[in-house]
Symmetry: C2
DNA sequence: CTAACATATGATCATCTGTTCATATGTTAT
DNA sequence: ATAACATATGAACAGATGATCATATGTTAG
């Protein structure tokens, strides 16, 4: 592979600090997972689905109707949300109800909302 | 435009609840902004930059060296982070130092980390 | 079993994204 | 003014993403 390290001729931060930063960085893998998680929040359809589920569990077809998005699109997005463990579901006959997996979802979205509102 | 509303033959949630959910939804515009914000967190290079800035302000070239990413790529990403008001910068001679704009960044990333760690 | 409904899934396609490369801009020292 | 360094920016291209369409799967009623 090619060498990408570019180094300032003079380092602008103390070498000890650089070392410290490196040590304090989480594993690359965790950082990757973290980015993947936020990617899931980074789509307005998915954000809207999550907001709907803030209030109540709901079936696919009601979510689709409420958000005016096709059943297929909602189903695909629910799959993404489920894989990210942000929602879970339960089946009741023909109907599948989705609900928030835990309260991190509210916390994360809440913090995001604080930021854009300030 | 085409009609996308698909409605369940029988509604599975109470109509009052549906109405309530609609009322409680933030403006479409805010939801869009929120998704845009999370999109910014949804890239591992940008997440890594933010983590570096957790510890200390840092110049572009030190960030690039630390993360082993080209100066150009870092600069492009810092621009994205700045536009999202997640980082700010100050110039000192030839050097431009970037630093976290506020503590929402830590809070949001912290919540995300909690989620993936559980 | 069959029809009808609810949901899931695979393929396709247009659009968006992140990196690279080349180059421009800004700053300092000589 | 000029060279050298630090950063920013625009074009271009490969890879990712989200909606649509067609269809498959799962479930219940008759």
């Amino acid at each position: 592979m090619n060498e990408k390290v570019e180094r300032c001729l003079e380092q602008h931060v103390h070498p000890e600090l650089l070392a410290h930063v490196k040590l304090d960085m989480p594993d690359v893998e965790d950082l990757y997972d973290l980015a993947e998680l936020f990617k899931v929040f980074g789509d307005s359809t998915r954000i809207r689905i999550l907001y709907v589920l803030f209030e109540s569990e709901m079936c696919v077809c009601d979510i689709a109707a409420l958000l005016n998005v096709s059943q297929s699109a909602i189903s695909h997005q629910l799959r993404v949300l489920k894989q990210a463990r942000l929602v879970r579901n339960r089946r009741d006959g023909k109907t599948v109800y989705y609900f928030l997996a835990d309260d991190h979802v509210r916390a994360i979205i809440g913090q995001g909302m604080d930021h854009i509102k300030e």
